[in-house]
Symmetry: C2
Subunit: 170 residues, 2 copies
Amino acid sequence: MRTVPRLQKDTVALYHALNELIRIYQFRDRDRICCHDISITQCHGLEGLVHHGPLMLNELADYLHLDKSTTSRVVDSLERKGYATRLVHPDDSRALELKATPAGIRLHQLIMDEILEEEEAVLSDLSVEVRRALPGVLRKLTQAAANRSKRPNVGCSSASAENQAIGAKK
Amino acid sequence: MRTVPRLQKDTVALYHALNELIRIYQFRDRDRICCHDISITQCHGLEGLVHHGPLMLNELADYLHLDKSTTSRVVDSLERKGYATRLVHPDDSRALELKATPAGIRLHQLIMDEILEEEEAVLSDLSVEVRRALPGVLRKLTQAAANRSKRPNVGCSSASAENQAIGAKK
DNA sequence: ATACTATAGTTGTCAGCTGCAACTATAGTA
DNA sequence: TACTATAGTTGCAGCTGACAACTATAGTAT
């Protein structure tokens, strides 16, 4: 009889904190990334290729949570800019073997360095315990959200014609 | 000689956790919100009006971190759908007094209830201490990021012509 | 009062991101 | 040799967002 409202309060607080965090980080990332000849989504794609080795288009699409058509265009951009290569997969002529080029790896490293330097300044303000616990907790939140969004039609019924995208710029 | 690499490791872990969290939550929010006759940005705008009373357009734009022109169009949508009103400000004929309508408040409450219910399920898995600490930590991260992004040209020099937006749909 | 400047919003324009549907091509199977 | 499934690509339409130009009202300095 006391924990329930407590939990609710925590939940509301978390919701707002998360909301604002996401909004802010979108902009921070855009500022950090977009000046480097690359969009946020492209950077995420590049990151996928750098960290998870050669990928097929579908795999990259899964990683990015994007449609394969959108992903294809992301790869277009990366390829055009020389940050990724699109080769026919050795084991399956239908598939692609997407890789980051040396230039792509360098660019990714550069962006990472910049972001991490900044992040470090923030993290050094936090206590060691919190700092240590944070990634795990965030992953937990992520996991929970990911599990739910896999379910079909989670809590949705009516859909409007207008509006379906997320976005921001400056 | 040992804390520095430690911090770096934490930072990298945090970076990736945050990255994925943001990506996932964008989609979760879109799924939760867009089926309700409203886009995510519109929902954020509505939330601003509901929580922070009557606002002028510029204030709402600040809240949303969006250009006033974009904000104006967000308000257009909300008004058209009957979730907000746009009146001339009583103290300044140039300005607007933006308010959520009863329908807007109801819609916002409905969406909040759905999201919070889900969030509660996640939070109840976490220890009380972590749960309690989380919003504060997130706010700290947000604050730090917000402070930095206020500075002009943070770490950026060259900007490409292509790409500057964030986005996702389904 | 009369400019001059600042501020609040709106609208035109342009470009990017996305998903869906349709289509091509290769694999795998019956 | 069909028939079906899978990997990608492209046409298309909608939404997001910023920037710049423009209108209108406020405030300020002659």
